[in-house]
Amino acid sequence: MLSRTANNLFWMARYVERGENTARILDITYRMSLMPQDRSVAQKEWFAPLNITGTLFPFSGRFSTVGAHDVLRYMVLDPDNPSSIMSCARAARENARAVRGAITSEMWEVLNSTWLELQNFNESRLDTEGVSHFFDWVKERAHLFRGVTVGTALKDEAFHFNRLGIFLERADNTARILDVKYHVLLPSVEDVGGAVDYYQWAAVLRSVSAFESYRKVYRDVITPLRVAELLILRVDMPRSLHACMREAYDIMQILARPQAEEALRRAGALWSELHFGRIDVIFNRGLHEYLTEFLTRTDALGQEINRSYFTLS
């Protein structure tokens, strides 16, 4: 397949996933902000979505304080913020439009009608209908897109590059979401194990649709160690780092070719460390440090994929 087409498909998938995860991050921040807690803590929480998406700096250039209203406005509908849900939907559609011949009509129509529907959203509508309703809608559109892909697309290279984009982006996003606790003001000593701590970890789980899975897997109280284990090491948890890297590594084996050996090696290394990893080792090293390194390495893998497949001459 054309290198340019593969590149567009890869990024189309990444933007769909990114838009969904932005909705998840904002949804969880919003829910956490509704918890009864100290006002200063509540304010701090709105730094999290900006830190996670790496947009605190541009945001600060436009808004003097970090609060719910402005962060939501900036992260949802702002066309000038490249990480906003609006921008992700536009980028996904534009990538799809560039490769319309390589995706099914149904896939295109999902992305196109999502983007058209987004044109009808504005601040007042968000206020009236509630942001949670909007975030649910964004998630549904992403679910629909992936379902339509699996249900209609030929399992050819186009499909694999699309899936590769999904899992790399998801691994990146889950790592960022898990790191959210680092960005929120750490609970004071007496809060550890307390109500606020519990709600915050539960919120992290809910943000990646893992709350119910947690209960099934552990049948016990929520602890940070287990939450991290579930979202990093459990291969049966569809948004965990392990599950994502396993999918990515599998796909890259299908796409294997001589010029992509380094990309395959990097994916394999990431996967095997997750496959054989232990959560206590990760915690001893420091969760934040671990996640930061993971993000750096996923980014390097993405660049290697770009070099191996998309920029051939």
């Binding site: 397949m1 054309l2 290198s3 340019r4 087409t5 593969a6 534009e94 439009r97 560039a98 490769v99 319309r100 011949g101 390589a102 009509s105 295109w108 129509e109 196109n112 009608s113 058209l116 290279e157 590059f161 796409l255 070719r257 010029q259 497949y309 998309f310 051939l312 001459s313």
Partner: protein, 486 residues
Amino acid sequence: MQIPLRDATPSGPTGMFSDSCYNEMYAPDGSVRAHYARLAAWLASTPAERVAHMRKAAQVLFHRVGITFAVYGEDSGAERLIPFDILPHIIPVSEWRELHAGLRQRVRALNMFLHDVYHDREIVKAGKIPEDKVLQNAQYRREMQGIGVPGGIYAHIAGVDLVRAGQGEYFVLEDNLRTPSGVSYMLENRKMMMRLVPELFAQELIAPVEHYPDLLLDMLRSVAPHGVHNPTVVLLTPGQFNSAYFEHAFLAQQMGVELVEGADLFVKDDVVYMRTTSGPQPVDVIYRRIDDDFLDPVAFRADSMLGVPGLVSAYRKGHVTLANAVGTGVADDKSVYPYVPDMIRFYLGEEPIISNVPTWRLENKEDLGYVLEHLQELVVKETQGSGGYGMLIGPTSTAREREAYKQRVLDAPHKFIAQPTLSLSTCPTFVEQGVAPRHIDLRPFVLSGKDVVMVPGGLTRVALKEGSLVVNSSQGGGTKDTWIVG
């Protein structure tokens, strides 16, 4: 009215210039023509709300499918829908058979003309067309002289614009032999109609058009370079900011071929390759939707960012087929149009089945004098213009516009032709106030490979503004489904 006709341009039938135009649906006595009877009955029995709902549904669906086009000169990236009218243009099969024969004849002659002008120029030697009309034409490509192309076919895809005037006689308004567009609307309009009014398709025998992409792919494969058994076909687009990008993507998808941009291709040792995720892959046939000028910065415009350096050299060596060929513009140029009936006689020894519209060539002093005196009645066009841009429609123009246009004509009379303002036929069309007659034309798409084939019908374009004769989508035109019934 006296019309100075030159050469062998056939004279228009009487009544052609009368004010009352042919109505596709109603006979002059107000009765419904037989081939419209079922539609009329359906219209009478369908509640207005349901029809209104359908029109709205069509809009939503077209938006969702993304059947949009970009209009030049507006905000970059602006996408608009071409208005779609749910009342079809219906043609009885007996009439279509005649048109079909006429279109085959015309396109065969045009291809023979193209082969001739790039080889022995017999038609010039025979004195049927002045040499400078060919050799001095801006669309004539010397690079093509003496170059053989597979099957001797140049205009693989031709869009021939037909109009009806007078008592319903058909005329060819123009030939489009470069990169004619619109076929995706023909296909999407049909899909839409089958969705909106399945009951009419159940009642009536409406000739299918859905196999067009198959015919197109079949034709493209059949014109591969000699010795290539399983050719790789690609569709070359200028990219997603081109006004017809939707169509390029649509056709590539329907044919299952790669949609490539110039940067996806490269030429090495006179062989064209595309850059794929598994390395270079040779390309045999390029259905190109890029104008000659932009194809190859080495051969043509050096500033082209869209083209492929070295493509024309590979093409001239016969290593790749371009559809349409380079240099077809010399046959669809408006200054060459008046000679097409003679081409048919010269190459085929047949009388043209479909007539040309009488045309004044303003380089002739006599014609120029007549036209300038009758500007208010005539349509004046630039020979190099397309898409309805740069033309003067006499009857709807202001005195100031005519005066300005006159100056342009006098500066370079050879760049203009004039034609009578045809009373194009009308077809009932939904407008704000209900159903009203609006002028239409028809563009069938003729494919030439081993044989000359087409799907029945074509793209019907409709001028939505009352009294307007301009059907171009860039100027407020809409489209309709076209039904060949029998």
